[in-house]
Amino acid sequence: MSVAAIGAGTGSKQNEPPQKTGRAWLPYLLLLPAGLWLLLFFALPLVQLGATSLYDPTGSLSTGYAMTWSFGNYPEALDAYKWHFLRSLGYAAVATAICLLLGYPLAYAIAHRAGRWKNVLLVGVIAPFFTSFLIRTLAWKTILSDNGPLVEALRTLHLLGADGRLLATPTAVIMGLVYNFLPFMVLPLYASLERLDQRLLEAAGDLYAGPVSTFWKVTLPLSMPGVVAGTLLTFIPATGDYINAELLGTPREYMIGNVIDSAFLVRLDYPQAAALSFLLMAVVLLVVFVYVRRSGTEEIL
């Protein structure tokens, strides 16, 4: 039934005969593989994780974990690791902002100024994905090395003190995040800027809008879907990231992802790890919800 309704909505004529009811199951059949996939690898693990987060926190591998509905796991975990949460959100927000500032001009240039270099530049944006995330982050250790040319140069320019360093500082972690997630910002921005009708910009010029007000009144509003998609695609994985903090930071830069990793794999505190995972999910959802509301782009999503 629903299929017929969607069909009617998408512009098919009202007087067209409705589809044969005998084939109403077809779309469901087509949904089945994806649905099963989602059920098996997302919904069930999520339920399991939710249950784990309520297990008795005093359980252990040899005694097992009793389901005690210990909702207290949540406030306890939040209280113990609130700074890690705030740090994750802060780093991710800064990294997202930098990505936007770097990515917007880049995406614009690729979409409208690159000419025949467009494809080459796009491949350039995607090319880093050909090597592993870990290898790329490790490479940053070499770039930011205390004895490397970058730090040397910054010291010579007195932007860094004589003993100053980049590696093992919040700056390094944020730089790593920016580098690793920049393509996720550029690609959606490119997709929406590429569709921008140049004639609208000409029209704005004809109506005596200077370049700045053309940007604010025409280009930016039209590219908002790209901005929203790009910021979300950058912010969400950056919040949960732990590789950058692990490799480029110190314990003082550890993010919530590092805590979850250690709780699951090292400390074997499964209830706490699960509670932290759910809290992270909730925090990210909340931030995204407020952001989407604020940016007034619900209709775009």
Binding site: M1, S2, A4, A5, I6, A8, G9, T10, G11, L39, A43, L44, V47, Q48, G50, A51, T52, Y55, D56, G59, S60, L61, S62, T63, G64, Y65, A66, M67, T68, H84, L138, K141, T142, S145, D146, N147, D163, R165, L167, A168, L247, G249, T250, P251, R252, Y254, N258, V259, D261, S262, F264, L265, V266, R267, L268, D269, E299
Partner: protein, 408 residues
């Protein structure tokens, strides 16, 4: 079917709207379906999980070695000798196959003890096969698997070479006194390393943690037993036998070094690039790594602190439900032949657990054989201590306290 409101809208928008307007029923269905799912999942999960411990009675493994001449051997990367000209050839392993007729599938799929534990945990807890006959994990992890009853008991009588040649310092270990579940593959030392290009000599753990010129250029190891072990020794305590108060003392010392910014970060193997590049001047380090670094730059040195070093080993173990225990025992026995062990030791550069291998190694490469990081002499072994076996509750409590200092 509900009528969709007519409005001047783009086809896409009206499609979305019409889907939404119909969605009340779909939504109801969806809600019902998901609550059914949650209920089902809840019912599954509500019982919690049972204890994961197995016993010899609860998990019986069959051995088909008599009929199947195969063995699946999982090890760490770069942990066995390879042919100089063809890296896919492993001379000692090929030698074993030639001698015994047992075909070995060798996989380098262990990168981290904790990660590997996570990987095989569900199978072993449920007494299901892991498709591996022989695995290599570090001693403390072996202790955990033994505690959980996840390993098969080895028949020492079938491994006379182990009985004869295993180094005395690796016998009678607290977690496996009779050596019935785990046999060392390679051993190593946890001590101090420094880069002579960046700093002068460092002799003690206290220097590492307090010297002002090293501030922010020191790393410690993220493995609790290594870092706390060295700190216990620096306090004059014995890591193979210590009290909770002594543990707290060591931890307080570490906390002080972290708070003062002396310790830059906690590392796994990844300290090697930073030490070689001079980003860190000195660190807690594993002997095998430092040996390999010093091959490139002889100013990178490993130091056995006066207060002592930690001796660890990576042990061969046969997990439950592995079907080729007999073949695994044959392989273990083969690798305790001093001539074979010498070949492996000269390639991997860790401490060889086989007595007599040094004499064999001298025939192949006298210079390497004289290296105390591969064949330690009496002065080193007398200072080397293993870390005490911990029960589950203590392990968890200590690990939690340690992680609080590490920061995650």
């Amino acid at each position: 079917m509900r009528k969709t409101p007519r409005a001047p809208m783009s086809p896409e928008a009206s499609a979305v709207i019409s889907t939404l307007s119909l969605s009340r029923r779909t939504l109801m269905r969806g809600t019902l379906a998901s609550s059914a799912l949650v209920a089902a999942g809840g019912a599954l999960a509500a019982c919690g999980t049972k204890g994961q411990t197995q016993t010899a009675e609860s998990c019986v493994s069959e051995d088909v070695s008599g009929t199947e001449k195969t063995l699946a051997f999982s090890n760490w990367p770069l942990y066995i000798d390879v042919d100089e000209n063809d890296e896919s050839k492993r001379p000692t392993l090929d030698g074993f196959t030639a001698k015994s007729g047992i075909a070995v599938t060798y996989t380098e799929d262990i990168n981290d003890n904790n990660e590997f534990f996570g990987k095989v945990q569900n199978q072993l807890a449920a007494c299901q096969p892991t498709d591996r006959d022989l695995i290599v994990l570090t001693d403390w992890m072996a202790a955990r698997l033994i505690r959980l009853g996840w390993l098969q008991k080895l028949d020492r009588a079938k491994m006379p070479a182990v009985e004869k040649n295993l180094l005395p310092s690796l016998r009678n270990r607290t977690f496996d006194p009779a050596g019935e579940y785990s046999v060392p593959w390679q051993a190593g030392l946890t001590g101090i390393a420094y880069n002579g290009d960046v700093t002068g000599e460092i002799r003690t753990v206290d220097e590492l943690l307090t010297r002002a010129d090293l501030k922010g250029r020191v790393t410690a190891l993220s493995e609790m037993r290594d870092t706390i072990g060295l700190l216990l020794q620096s306090n004059g305590h014995d890591p193979s036998h210590f009290t909770a108060a002594q543990f707290d003392d060591a931890l307080a010392k570490l906390q002080k070094a972290v708070d003062s910014g002396q310790i830059r970060r906690f590392t796994g193997n990844d300290y090697t690039t930073e030490l070689a590049g001079g980003d860190i001047a000195a660190c807690m380090a594993w002997s095998g790594d430092v040996y390999q670094l010093s091959a490139d730059n002889e100013k990178v040195r490993f130091v056995v602190p006066e207060s002592g070093v930690i001796l660890f080993s990576d042990d061969l173990q046969v997990p439950n439900k592995a079907a080729h225990k007999g073949n695994a025992e044959a392989l273990i026995d083969y690798y305790y032949d001093p001539a074979v062990a010498a070949e492996v030791a000269l390639y991997v550069n860790y401490i060889c657990p086989v007595e007599g291998a040094r004499a064999e190694a001298e025939k192949i490469d006298p210079e390497l054989a004289a290296n105390p990081l591969i064949f330690p002499d009496e002065t080193v072994t007398s200072k080397a201590k293993g870390f005490m076996a911990l029960d589950e509750a203590t392990e968890k409590a200590y690990e939690q306290k340690f992680r609080a200092v590490v920061g995650a």
